[in-house]
């Protein structure tokens, strides 16, 4: 079966103050429909850069990305903007991910308007439906983003990502900034959405324990390279690389 996403030999270096920093070095991976791939690594390992390259927010120097059989890096202008509906993103800090002036309704209406998913008259109803899908009351729609709690805000961010009916959602540390009691709920919501919609996730995190809960497979990154990739439980049980071993050992366990 053709994978949803195929990434081949991506490379990217940043220049910072005269020094060249390798952010991505020969990165290749594939992702199936309805599958979750965890992207784990220490800070500076390139996992966030990879996420941003997949979203066409950062251009790689070389390599190929095939998304639903299409050359994803060749898309330009209007064609790219239209196709962006297929790949959506949820950010780490839900407060920073929304225009400070936005209301929940306006944030959710934007993607519906841009992609012509719903006419002007239909939009309020669709916004209400999106809110219900992420477990929020449609009554919240007129509220400003900064007025609701962090967990509610992240639910709105997920609703915004769902608005365009994407086949892939990139979650960049999407639960790291949330309170522990909220984090579990958001993970449950993401898993439930995947079960009903068959959406694929790329779940970027520095916490292998959280990744294990939600990801079928995991790619361990270090210094811009994927050093190890495979079925999540297997890698946690028998980490093959030093990076994976350190990440597994660093997870705090409850000492009862």
């Amino acid at each position: 079966m053709q994978p949803l996403l195929a990434v081949e030999n991506l490379a990217k270096t940043f220049r910072s103050g005269g020094r060249r920093v390798t952010a991505l070095d020969d990165v290749s991976l594939t992702l199936g429909r309805g599958e979750t791939l965890g992207l784990v690594g220490p800070s500076g390992s390139g996992k966030s850069t990879l996420a941003r390259v997949l979203l066409r927010l950062v251009a790689p120097e070389s390599g190929r990305i095939e998304m639903e059989g299409e050359d994803w890096l060749a898309l330009r202008g209007k064609a790219l903007r239209e196709r962006r509906a297929r790949v959506q993103m949820v950010f780490q800090d839900p407060l920073a991910a929304f225009n400070p002036r936005a209301t929940i309704a306006s944030a959710l209406a934007d993607p519906l308007r841009i992609h012509g998913t719903a006419g002007r008259a239909e939009r309020p109803r669709r916004v209400g439906e999106l809110l219900e899908r992420v477990g929020l009351s449609p009554d919240l729609a007129p509220r400003a983003i900064h007025e609701v709690s962090g967990g509610q805000r992240q639910r709105v961010a997920i609703a915004r990502a769902l608005a365009t009916n994407p086949s892939l959602i990139v979650l960049d540390e999407a639960v790291s900034a949330l309170d522990v009691s909220v984090r579990g709920r958001i993970l449950e919501l993401l898993a439930a959405i995947q079960k009903t919609d068959g959406v694929s996730y790329i779940f970027v995190s520095h916490d292998v324990a959280v990744v294990r809960v939600i990801a079928h497979r995991v790619a361990i990154m270090d210094a811009g390279r994927i050093v190890e990739m495979g079925e999540t439980e297997g890698i946690i049980r028998e980490p093959g690389s030093a990076t994976a071993r350190a990440l597994v050992a660093a997870v705090p366990r409850l000492h009862r």
């Binding site: 800070s43 522990v180 993401l190 520095h206 079928h216 439980e233 660093a250």
Partner: protein
């Protein structure tokens, strides 16, 4: 019975806002024993940071304090920086970006221990060795931006313990860092307080992280103390439903997975 370093009696902290008073901390009774490692656990809005700031007497000026903090373990009211060291969440903003590392680490020692310039730098050098900064001689002349986030936090810890405080307060010192670095910083803090006989108050949202090294745990919610006790007892027999929910929400390799294997 170990002796007490501090006693919090009916401690409340409030901030006046637009007509009403918002309580950040409400009627807290808590003892801190000399030499213990106490973890303060709470989610956002629990008042855990306010408690840390109150202990270090560095609350913002508009905060109103009621109740008392007694210091039976100290001969006098504590001086911030001298008797209480503080490690902030973000070392990027707690270190001065245009001051050499050596001078920043030496500053506390020079001000509070009365050391001269060269003695201060010598102390800074030994502190940088203690927090295991690679090549500490060169680090003395460096600036914060030349170090990684984890190294900056080590430097911030060196600054905090420069004047040999009795109490070290660490306010979420690892939440801006990745997990591998988090584990290293926790190990470092744990080792330092053991060797120096310091008392550690460790503020965190992660009960699993705290359970790995704290002697006692105090759980806070909405500005109030939910329960406090020995780590082992709190984790084995939590008395309050909220503590149970926090323990249940902890994610480690024993947590159930939410997906079916592909």
């Amino acid at each position: 019975m170990t002796s007490l370093l501090a006693e919090l009696r009916g401690l409340s902290v409030s901030y006046p806002t637009a007509g009403r008073t918002a309580f950040a901390l409400r009627e807290v009774h808590l003892d801190i024993a000399m030499g213990e490692r106490l973890a303060i656990i709470g989610e956002s809005g629990s008042g855990k940071t306010t408690l840390a700031l109150a202990l270090a007497s560095i609350l913002p000026p508009q905060a109103r304090l009621a109740g008392r903090i007694d210091w039976p373990g100290l001969a006098r009211a504590p001086v911030a920086g001298r008797d209480v060291g503080f490690v902030f969440q973000d070392p990027g903003s707690s270190l001065n970006p245009v001051m050499r590392i050596g001078e920043q680490v030496a500053e506390g020692a020079r001000r509070h221990l009365g050391l001269g310039r060269s003695a201060g730098l010598e102390r800074a050098l030994s502190l940088l060795q203690r927090v295991r900064i690679p090549d500490p001689e060169a680090a003395l002349r460096g600036y914060p931006h030349q170090f990684s986030g984890g190294q900056r936090q080590r430097i911030a810890i060196a600054c905090a313990i420069a004047a040999r405080p009795r109490l070290l307060i660490a306010d979420e010192p690892t939440s801006a860092l990745d997990m591998v670095v988090q584990a290293e910083i926790v190990r470092l803090l744990d080792g330092l307080v053991r060797e120096e006989g310091m008392t550690l108050v460790f503020i965190t949202h992660d009960i699993g992280l705290a359970s790995g090294f704290a002697d006692r745990i105090a759980v806070f919610r909405d500005g109030a103390l939910v329960e406090a006790g020995a780590t082992r007892e709190i984790l084995a027999k939590p008395a309050q439903a909220y503590t149970r929910s926090l323990i249940a929400a902890h994610i480690d390799f024993a947590s159930p997975r939410l997906i079916e294997p592909a």
